[in-house]
Symmetry: C2
Subunit: 251 residues, 2 copies
DNA sequence: GAGTGGTCTAGACCACGTC
DNA sequence: ACGTGGTCTAGACCACTCA
C-alpha cells in the first residue's frame, strides 16, 4: 500500500524524528546525502522532506539545511476572552497571561488606524460597505519571534474619540469602555477555519512553506444582538493548539 | 516579489476560479494545455495546481482532470454539545440538527468496540496505559459523502454493560446514562490543532491530497475533575468551519 | 568559494478513466 | 487505444549561508 518512494522515505525520516534519533534542532542529512544513501533522485528527496515540512516537523532554510523543529506548540486559551481585562497583577489580557504561564515571554506590537470597512469586515459587523471603522492591529510575539495576528475592528460610530483608538494597552479594558459607552457586549461567537496563509501572513509571521493557519473570526454582540466588535486572529498551525472550555456541558 | 512562475500561474488560475470564469464543477485546462499555453514545463504546472488543491479550491483525480471544487463548507457548531440530547423532535445530536438546518442530509455509521487505551487515549483520560476502554466510532456523512470522524472513548470501569456500548443512537442520551451511573460530567474542554491527515484518514474521508484537518480533542470531566469521556473529532479543513459561542463574555 | 536548498526543465513510465 | 493525472529521474541554474 505504501510502495511510494517519497512516502517511504518520509516515513523513515519521521520515525527518526519521533524516536529522538534526529533530535529537535539538529539537521536532516543534506539532500545530496539522502540521494546517495537512498538511491533516489533529488525531486523525490525534496518531496519526502516537503511532507515533513507540511506536518510542521521540519523547517527548511535556503543555504542552511532542513532542521528538525523544536516542539514549542503553545496552547491558545480561547474561552472567556475578557476574564482578565483590567487586572492589576501583570498583563491584562488572557493571551499574555497564558503564554507567561507556559514559561515563555509574550510581547505585542499594537498599531491603530482609522479606515473603511472592507467587504468581509462589513459583512461580519453588519455594516454598510466602506463605513468607517476603527482598527486595532496587534502583532504578537513569543520570546521575540512573531507568533500570531489579532486585528480588531470597531464601528467608528461607537468608538470614535474613545481610548480604544489609542495604540496602547487599553485601561481599564475595552469591555469597560464599551459598557461606559452604553454598548456592553453580551455574547461572543467564534468561527474557525483552517486555510493556507496569504503571502503577507507568511511574511509577517515567518510561516514555513506549506503550513496551514487557523483563522478565528470572533464577534461580540450587544444586548440588542448588534455586532460591536470584530477580531480576526491568524494562528499558524505549527505553533498553536487552541483550547475551548464549554461553560455548561449539561442539560 | 511574485516572479515565481508557479505562483503566478496559481494566482492566475485562482483568479479565474474566484471570478467565476472557471465555475465550480468545471475542469481546469489539462496539464498539457497549460504547458503549451503558458510555455512552462509540466512540473511547474503541477506545482501551481498543487497550491490550489492545498487551498481546497481544486480536486484532482487520476485519469479525470483537475476539477474546481463545489464550495460546500458546513458550519460545525461546537458549543453546547449536549443541548439536544434525548430530544424527541428529530435527530438527537447537535451535529445532525445543524447539518439539517443548513439544508443537507446527515447520516452516521456507528460501530462500537472494546479495546485497550492507546498511549494518547490513556493520557487524555488519565488512565494507566492499556486499561480497557469502550470505544464508540462514528463516521459521519453529508448527502452520502464521508464528512468527518467522531470517535468516543469511555473508561470501561464506568460504562461496562451500559447502553453506551451499543452501536446505535443512544437513548435517552449518553449524558443521562452517565448521570444514572453517578458520573455526570460538569465541565467539557476542547483542544484543537490543525495537522496533516494520516493515510487512513485520507482514505476513509476522501481528503484531497494536501488538505489539512482540524483535530478536536474533547474531554468531559465529572464533578471531581476526573475525565470520564474523550471524543476525538477529525474535520477536513476543506469542508468545515467551526463555531464556538462563549457563554459569558463579560467581566 | 564551496555547499546548501529553491526553482525550473525535459523526458520517461505507470495507473486510472473513458471510449 | 487513448488521454488524463501520478510518480520518478537527470540535469541545469539561481539564491542564500557560512567559512
Amino acid at each position: 500500500m505504501d510502495e511510494l518512494v517519497y512516502t517511504t522515505l518520509a516515513n523513515r525520516l519521521r520515525a527518526g524524528i519521533r524516536s529522538g534519533q534526529l533530535s529537535p534542532g539538529s539537521y536532516l542529512p543534506t539532500e545530496s546525502t539522502l540521494m546517495r544513501e537512498q538511491n533516489v533522485s533529488r525531486g523525490t528527496v525534496r518531496r519526502a522532506i516537503d511532507v515533513l515540512v507540511r506536518e510542521g516537523l521540519v523547517i527548511s532554510r535556503q543555504g542552511r539545511g532542513h532542521q528538525v523543529r523544536q516542539g514549542t506548540a503553545l496552547v491558545w486559551i480561547a474561552s472567556q476572552p475578557e476574564r482578565n481585562q483590567g487586572r492589576a497583577d501583570g498583563p491584562s489580557d488572557t493571551w499574555s497571561r497564558s503564554v507567561l504561564a507556559q514559561g515563555f515571554t509574550p510581547s505585542e506590537q499594537i498599531t491603530t488606524e482609522i479606515g473603511y470597512a472592507s467587504d468581509a469586515v462589513a459583512r461580519w459587523l453588519a455594516l454598510a460597505a466602506r463605513e468607517p471603522v476603527s482598527i486595532r492591529r496587534r502583532l504578537r510575539f513569543v520570546d521575540g519571534a512573531p507568533y500570531s495576528i489579532a486585528d480588531s475592528f470597531y464601528p467608528r460610530s461607537i468608538v470614535a474619540g474613545s481610548d480604544v483608538e489609542l495604540p496602547a494597552d487599553v485601561q481599564p479594558g475595552v469591555y469597560a469602555i464599551f459598557a461606559a459607552l452604553g454598548r456592553p457586549w453580551a455574547r461572543t461567537v467564534d468561527r474557525l477555519c483552517s486555510r493556507a496563509p496569504t503571502p503577507e501572513e507568511s511574511a509577517t509571521l515567518a510561516i514555513p512553506r506549506g503550513v496551514a493557519v487557523a483563522e478565528v473570526v470572533r464577534r461580540s454582540f450587544d444586548p440588542a444582538g448588534i455586532p460591536v466588535r470584530l477580531t480576526l486572529f491568524v494562528l499558524p498551525g505549527d505553533r498553536h493548539e487552541i483550547e475551548y472550555e464549554h461553560a455548561e456541558a449539561t442539560t
